[in-house]
């Protein structure tokens, strides 16, 4: 394996594109280093993108925030602006791994690793986050939900990588929340998870809802049927129950060492309902 740390986007693209063997991008490294150690990944070239100018930046953009691909969970969590606007995304990112892993792990890496249990991904999908991708064919923006294809596979072409992720602007009375279930209180991979983003009108009626579920399908599920149960309601018990049922119905999990099918289908409803209540409270607190 060779290691390169280019100091420009163009140099990084050139390295990635011209590598005849397997190349991988290194950001926080919390997934790729484990894969290297266990032999699950054996790239010929590892391209460290952290020397690229701006890759650590968090900038305001059209009322939202653009988060550089190398921004660690710990750094993002310290950003008061993003935290106020997208508390659910922040809490999801902060759940990736331990404090130590937080010092390195990135949203972009979490997305590209394409695990259905990735903590930040349901929250980002609920937030309609947009990834900014560079590559040999130029730059493009891509909704985050289009990036993971199946466990461990993403849609980026050879030579492409993410330089930043945009968390868009929000109207008033809008907020989000993320909950996951793990057997312990820390250090586990989500057995099931739910990210909920809501917009309320001035009377507290839900006008927009996005509900994304993790670890219940090969990729994160955005469940429109669940969202529809909330729109037009004040998230009363009936609406929440219907939403929970829609989540359970949409879930198509596997049973494995981390949880049974039955458990995942049950608990995803519980978490989605709890997350929706939290998002509602947060949105209401803004008015």
């Amino acid at each position: 394996m060779r290691y390169a740390a280019p100091d420009s986007v163009s140099e990084a693209i050139k390295l990635l594109k011209s590598e005849p063997g397997v190349s991988r991008v290194l950001a926080g490294g919390s997934d790729i280093l484990v894969q290297l150690k266990t032999g699950m990944a054996a790239p010929d070239l590892l391209v460290d993108i952290k020397q690229i100018p701006g890759i650590y930046d968090i900038t305001q953009e059209n009322g939202g925030y653009r988060v550089g691909a190398a921004v660690s969970g710990a750094a993002l969590g310290e950003h008061a602006g993003v935290k106020a606007q997208w508390p659910g995304v922040i809490e999801a990112v902060e759940l990736i791994g331990s404090t130590q892993v937080q010092g390195r792990a990135t949203m972009a890496g979490n997305l590209c690793n394409a695990s259905p249990a990735a903590d930040s991904v349901p929250a980002m999908i609920a937030a309609q986050a947009i990834a900014h991708i560079v590559g040999p064919e130029g730059e493009r923006d891509c909704p985050v939900q289009d990036i993971p294809l199946s466990p461990g596979r993403n849609s980026l072409a050879k030579g492409e990588f993410i330089t930043s992720i945009l968390l868009p602007a929000r109207p008033e009375n809008a907020s989000d929340a993320y909950l996951r279930f793990i057997p312990r209180t820390e250090m586990d991979i989500a057995v099931v998870s739910a990210g909920v983003s809501l917009e309320l009108d001035s009377s507290g009626v839900c006008t927009v809802a996005r509900i994304a579920l993790g670890a219940v399908a090969p990729t994160v599920l955005l469940v429109d049927a669940a969202a529809e149960c909330l729109i037009g309601t004040k998230l009363d018990e009936n609406a929440l129950d219907a939403m929970g049922k829609a989540c359970s119905a949409a879930a198509n999990p596997i049973g494995d060492k981390r949880g049974t099918i039955e458990f995942r289908k049950d608990v995803v409803a519980v978490l989605a309902k709890r997350a929706a209540k939290i998002a509602q409270t947060r949105a209401g607190d803004q008015s």
Binding site: P183, R184, T185, E186, M187, I189, F263, V267
Partner: protein, 754 residues
Amino acid sequence: MLPLKCGGRKMALYTGKRNFKVVGTRPPRPDGIDKVTGRALFGADLSAPGMLVGQILRSPHAHARIKSIDTSAAEALSGVKSVVTSADFDKASNSPNQDALDNCMARGKALYHGHAVAAVAATTAYVATQALKLIKVDYNVLPHVIEVEDAMMANAPIVQGGRRADNAPDGLSENITHYMSFGHGGLDEGFAKADKIIERTFKTAATHQGYIEPHACLATMGPDGKADLWCCTQGHYYVRELCADFLGMETSQLRVTASEIGGGFGGKTTVFIEPVALALSRKAGKPVKMVMNREEVFKASGPTVSSLTDVKIGMTKDGRITAAHAMLRYQGGAFPCGTIEFGLMSAFAAYDLDAVQAEGFNVMTNRPRQAAYRAPGAPVAIYPVEGVIDELCQILDLDPLEVRLKNAARKGTKSSYGPTFDDIGLVATLEAAQKHPHYLTPLGPNQGRGVSCGFWFNFGGNTSVSLNLNADGTVGIVEGNPDIGGSRASISQMAAEELGIPYEKIRTVIADTNSLGFNDVTDGSRVTFAVGLATIKAAQDAVQKMCSRVAKLWDIDEDAVVWEDGYAKPAGPNAGEFEPMSIAEIAAIANSTGGPIAGHHEVNADGAGVSFGVHLVDLEIDPGTGQTTILRYTVFQDAGKAVHPDYVEGQMQGGAVQGIGWALNEEYIYGPDGLLQNPGFLDYRIPVASDLPPIEAVILEIPNPGHPYGVRGVGETSIVPPLAALSNGVSRAIGHRMYELPMSPPKILKTIKG
């Protein structure tokens, strides 16, 4: 302290209350600074010039015949200096040793996923890893068996032939290596007296000790057959015995030095990589370092038994147990495993019973060879018993502590495993729990309180200690048991107490195998008891020598000199008028009064004294997810005299948390292919700091009559009660009984939903 008579004393056993000066205080540990600064040297921290890196090739199958191993391509790789297989080891001298060897390196058959098959030593880790890929092993994959109940069936795949117990019942598998029973009294009459009888079946998963330090060693063997081995182990003398046996060496030619040890809990009481490193070093003629990775630790070292147990207990309406029976089935991996004995003997040890029987089997499966884990066999035997008692308390509407007190073993009780108990602390711990504010605190919704008793035998065993008096009056103690939780501090304290000098004047070190007589493994909670006892006697030996020198100096009878608070003094007015001599004064002139002064003691210590504990837990269940939150936890344990209370508390807290992990989340998970699915800390979920509340430790000091200071072992009992305490707490919180460990959230949620 009591003045010691110096002439011809016999070891006094515990003689009642005394005012300790050093024992019972909390001085800093001698290895403390090294451990908070990163200087302490653990197993993987030593290197040697020209050192090679050793790595092991492991079986990808649960059970397979090894038809051939072709190592030629690996040997041809540049940088590879030696390759070994089972052919490079001698036949062991006895059956248990042969099992240990065959576990280190598969002979003929790979018996479990991860079983070592071959090993290489190379100039770098990278080359070693490449070399492993070049070893060609031709396997004939065989049917495998993982669960104890399957392995008992007559048609089960045979893990190893020829190991069947003589007395195993007909119609069951050859995998049964032990059938045993213990107990007394008439069960039929006993059950006839009961108002309520219930019988339940309980299952536990195999768990791992989970020490944070992987197995590691550095071996050097020369062409003259002399060898040195540095390794993290609980017993370097046993490592020496096994390695010398496997390599055909004389014991004197192998010196084993124990590194600082990063946790063991029983799992470092045997060998895994050490003989392999020596064999690689012998072949390569260079030092070889081997360090397991975490996956290897889970796959190839450690796990406990898993179990399937039926318990039947009869109780009167007022809570008296009239009869009790248990049928235990343990699997301890691919080799015969005697842990069932401890399970059977401990299952009902907490109770005074007229009619009791515990019978059980050990069965082989295609899993790693069981290694001891803190009170081996006892947690999974006592868990079902305490579960049935708790369920009876609920059915009969009785207070669970009251019922346990009513049936508690006490002095004079004929124990369920035979002997009659001397002074024991169970009643005291139960009464302390009853009075503790914890037991009286009201519970909220979805909350439950669990109670359980626990028990462990405690060991004594073979021990050697030397105590060297230095010219400045300070003392060096040489002992031979790796310090796994602060024992150097407690040994120094006991020596200080006995000599009557300050703790700071003493330094205790752990000797290598050539520098001190034999010592048993650090196991069975034996060190503070047995090494402490030998240290006290070594101190008395030194005191006697000092008194003798002083008697000569004063020209009086040896019997006329007594030792008090670090001074030799005349025994009384009749002995004459002499200025007391301090240890420093005696030491300063030792060379002129007969030469260096040292005390020694070698003993096979008995009289360890059993230990009981009671745990209380309050917990809350999330009815939506089945998650358990522990709200409050209190440990009550009879510790005998607590030499260093900080480390006694530490043992109680640490054991409790290991038991909590066992109860809630820890387990070996196998797929239908017999492969271990969770060989890592990510999915083998040991408790983390945020999972836990403070663990309150209440020490009860019921002196052990078998030790001069009343010391009992304290290290193991604490892992026993959490299994049932949590199970009982969860069962009460959700209103349904749980019968299986771990109580992972999917299982709890399923039980809640019926």
